[in-house]
C-alpha cells in the first residue's frame, strides 16, 4: 500500500516536469502570437503577455498586402515542392541499386559516398564551384547542390533492406525488370520512409537560408528564400528597435509586424509536422540506431 502511494507521487513528479518542459516550448510561440495580434498601444506599455490585447489583424494585413513577402512566400513554397520531389527522386535512385549485394562496384560507391559524410571540401571550394558552373544568382544554386543528402539516403537504404528479399526474387523470377520492381514493390511499400524524407527535405529547404545567402546576391533579390528575406528584415529592424526601446520612435508597429512576419513564415511547417510524427520517429530511428 505504502509502496504504491510512493510510486504515484513519483509519477506525478514526472508529469509535472513534462508539463513544465512543454510550457517552455509553447510560451515563446504563444507570446509571439499574442504580440502579432495586439494593438500597438498595449505593446508600447509592455502589457502583452500570453493573450493579445486590443485584438486586431492589422499587422497581418500589412504583411499580406506587401508584395515582397507574398512573392518570397510563394517562391520559397514552389522551390520547396520542386526540391522535395527532386531530392526524393535522387535519394530513391541512389538507395535502391545499393541494396543489391552482388552488384559490382557497390562497395566502391558506398565508400565514396560515406567519405563525403565526414570530409567536405568546405565553404569556399563549394562557392568557387558554383561560380565556375555559373550557378551563382540562378535558382540552380538553391536546388542542385542540396538535392541529395547522404544521411537521408542511408535512412532510405535501411528501409529498403527491411523489405524481404523474397519479394524481389519472386518478382525477378516472374520476369519483372529492376526498375519495375522498384516502382511496383519497393516504392509502394516505402510510403512511411518517403513521407519522412519528404518532411526532412521540405523542412530543410523551407528553413534554409545559407545557400541563398552565399550564392544569391542583392541584384537577384527576387531569388532570396523567405528565411533569407526574414534574416535581412530582422537585422535591419534590430537597430531601429533599440532606438525604439529608448523611446525615440513608435515601436509598436514594427514590433507586432515583426511577430506577424515570423508567424507567417512558420505556420506552414507547424501545421504539417504533427501529422507525420509517427513516420518521422521511425525514420530518425532507422538513421541512427542499428544493432
Amino acid at each position: 500500500m505504502i509502496k504504491s502511494n510512493k510510486t504515484k507521487a513519483g509519477d506525478i513528479v514526472f508529469v509535472v516536469i513534462c508539463l513544465f518542459v512543454t510550457l517552455i516550448c509553447v510560451i515563446p510561440m504563444v507570446n509571439l502570437l499574442a504580440r502579432s495580434l495586439s494593438d500597438t498601444s498595449y505593446l508600447i506599455r509592455h502589457e502583452v503577455y500570453l493573450f493579445p490585447k486590443g485584438l486586431n489583424f492589422d499587422s497581418y494585413k500589412t504583411v499580406l498586402s506587401d508584395s515582397k513577402y507574398i512573392v518570397a512566400f510563394f517562391w520559397t513554397a514552389g522551390l520547396t515542392v520542386v526540391c522535395t520531389f527532386l531530392s526524393l527522386f535522387m535519394t530513391t535512385i541512389c538507395a535502391y541499386p545499393l541494396i543489391y549485394q552482388d552488384l559490382r562496384g557497390r562497395g566502391i560507391i558506398n565508400i565514396l559516398i560515406t567519405i563525403t559524410m565526414f570530409f567536405s571540401a568546405g565553404t569556399i571550394p563549394n562557392y568557387l564551384l558554383m561560380k565556375q558552373l555559373g550557378f551563382l544568382n540562378t535558382p540552380f544554386a538553391l536546388m542542385i547542390p542540396s538535392c541529395l543528402s547522404v544521411f537521408n539516403m542511408i535512412i532510405m537504404r535501411s528501409f529498403f533492406y527491411g523489405i524481404p528479399d523474397s519479394l524481389r526474387e519472386s518478382a525477378e523470377i516472374d520476369g519483372a525488370s529492376h526498375i519495375r520492381i522498384l516502382l511496383k514493390i519497393y516504392i509502394p511499400l516505402s510510403k512511411p520512409v518517403i513521407a519522412t524524407l519528404a518532411l526532412f527535405y521540405a523542412v530543410g529547404r523551407w528553413n534554409g537560408y545559407t545557400d541563398s545567402l552565399m550564392y544569391i546576391t542583392v541584384e537577384k533579390s527576387e531569388l532570396f528564400t523567405l528565411q533569407h528575406l526574414l534574416y535581412n528584415i530582422i537585422q535591419s529592424i534590430n537597430s531601429v528597435d533599440t532606438a525604439a526601446q529608448e523611446g525615440f520612435s513608435k515601436p509598436g508597429l514594427s514590433e507586432s509586424l515583426k511577430s506577424a512576419i515570423v508567424m507567417f513564415s512558420t505556420v506552414p511547417i507547424l501545421c504539417i509536422y504533427p501529422w507525420l510524427q509517427k513516420y518521422f520517429i521511425h525514420g530518425v530511428t532507422l538513421g541512427a540506431v542499428k544493432e
Partner: protein, 322 residues
C-alpha cells in the same frame, strides 16, 4: 554510420564477370548514373579547389595557371596557413568555436538523454504523445525564426522574460547584447531547439531494452532510479557513444545557420566562429586563399577528431561508428 540492417557478417557475394553483371543489372547502373554524377560534381569536384589554399588566388584566372603562394618572391605554399594562424580574428573565431561547441557538448548533449529518461517514466500514453509532439516543435523552426523569437522574448524592456523579472523586482538583463549573456542564451536556445528531437533516438533505444530486465529488477526490489541507472542507461550506452563520437568529430565544425542567425554586432567577440569567419572573409571580402586554408584546417581536424574518438571508444570496448 554503422552497418546496415541485414548486413551479414562475413558474407561475400560471388563475383560476376563485368559483362554478365552489366547485362543482368544494367537498369540499376542506369539508376545510379545520376547520383554518381552528382557525387562527382558536387562532392568531389569542389575538393579540386582546395588547392586554392596553397596558391595566390587570382580572379578570372584558371585554377591550374594560378601561381603558387609566394612571400617575398619565394614560393611558400603554407603562406595562407601561417597567415591565418597569425590573424587575431581567426584566433578569436577558433577559441569561440571550441568554447561554444564544448558548452554545447556539456549542456546540450545530455539534455535529450535526460528528457528521454523522463518521458520513459510517464505512464499515461496520451499525455506522453502530446508532450512529445510539442517538444519536437522547436526542431522545425529555422534559426532565423528562433533568433527573432529570442529577440522579442528577451528584449531588455519589452520582452516577456524581462517583464517577468521586473515584476519580481529584478533588473532587466540584456540577454543578447552582452557577450557573456549571449553565450548562455545561445547555448540554451540550442538546448531548446534540440532536446525533444534528439530524444527520439534514445527513446527508440530504450524501447529496445528487454522488459524482463525491469521485471527482474523489480523483484529484487529496485526502485525507479535504480532501474534507470542500472538498466536503462547501460541499455542505451552504445547509442550514447555513437552520438558522442559524432559530436566530438564536430568540435571544430559548427552550424553556420545557427551561429550566423544568432550573432549580432554587439557580441561578435564571443560569437564569431570559424564558419562565419570564413563566410565574411571569403565570400564577402574575397580572400579566397586564406579562407580555403582555414576551411581545410577545419575539415582535417574534424576528421582527425572523429577518427580518434572512434579509436578511443573501440579501445574502451564500445562498438564505435565502424
Amino acid at each position: 554510420m554503422s552497418k546496415d540492417a541485414n548486413y551479414i557478417e562475413g558474407y561475400k557475394p560471388r563475383r560476376m564477370a563485368v559483362t554478365t553483371a552489366f547485362k543482368k543489372y544494367w537498369q540499376l547502373y542506369l539508376l545510379l548514373l545520376l547520383p554518381v554524377i552528382y557525387f562527382i560534381i558536387f562532392r568531389y569536384k569542389p575538393m579540386e579547389f582546395i588547392i586554392v589554399a596553397f596558391k595566390d588566388y587570382k580572379l578570372n584566372m584558371n585554377l591550374w595557371d594560378m601561381p603558387w603562394a609566394t612571400t617575398k618572391k619565394e614560393v611558400d605554399i603554407f603562406k595562407w596557413f601561417v597567415k591565418a594562424f597569425s590573424d587575431k580574428n581567426f584566433h578569436t573565431a577558433l577559441t569561440n568555436t571550441i568554447t561554444l561547441n564544448l558548452l554545447d557538448l556539456i549542456i546540450g548533449f545530455p539534455a535529450p538523454i535526460i528528457f528521454a529518461l523522463v518521458l520513459n517514466e510517464l505512464t499515461a500514453k496520451r499525455y506522453k504523445k502530446v508532450v512529445q509532439t510539442i517538444a519536437y516543435m522547436p526542431h522545425f523552426l529555422s534559426w532565423v525564426i528562433i533568433y527573432s523569437i529570442a529577440l522579442q522574448l528577451l528584449a531588455p524592456s519589452s520582452g516577456l522574460v524581462n517583464i517577468v523579472l521586473n515584476n519580481m523586482g529584478i533588473e532587466s538583463v540584456d540577454f543578447l547584447g552582452k557577450a557573456d549573456n549571449w553565450v548562455w542564451t545561445y547555448i540554451l536556445f540550442g538546448v531548446w531547439q534540440n532536446f525533444g528531437w534528439g530524444s527520439i533516438v534514445y527513446l527508440a533505444a530504450i524501447a529496445g531494452i528487454n522488459p524482463e530486465l525491469y521485471e527482474a529488477a523489480a523483484v529484487d526490489g529496485a526502485g525507479r532510479f535504480k532501474k534507470m541507472w542500472h538498466i536503462t542507461l547501460p541499455g542505451i550506452k552504445s547509442t550514447i557513444v555513437v552520438l558522442l563520437i559524432m559530436a566530438l568529430g564536430g568540435i571544430l565544425g559548427g552550424n553556420f545557420d545557427r551561429n550566423f542567425a544568432m550573432q549580432n554586432k554587439l557580441v561578435l567577440e564571443k560569437a564569431e566562429v570559424i564558419s562565419t569567419f570564413v563566410y565574411k572573409r571569403g565570400i564577402k571580402s574575397l580572400q579566397f586563399s586564406l579562407t580555403t586554408a582555414v576551411g581545410l584546417f577545419q575539415s582535417v581536424v574534424g576528421v582527425i577528431f572523429l577518427l580518434s574518438a572512434n579509436f578511443l571508444s573501440r579501445k574502451l570496448g564500445e562498438r564505435g561508428l565502424w
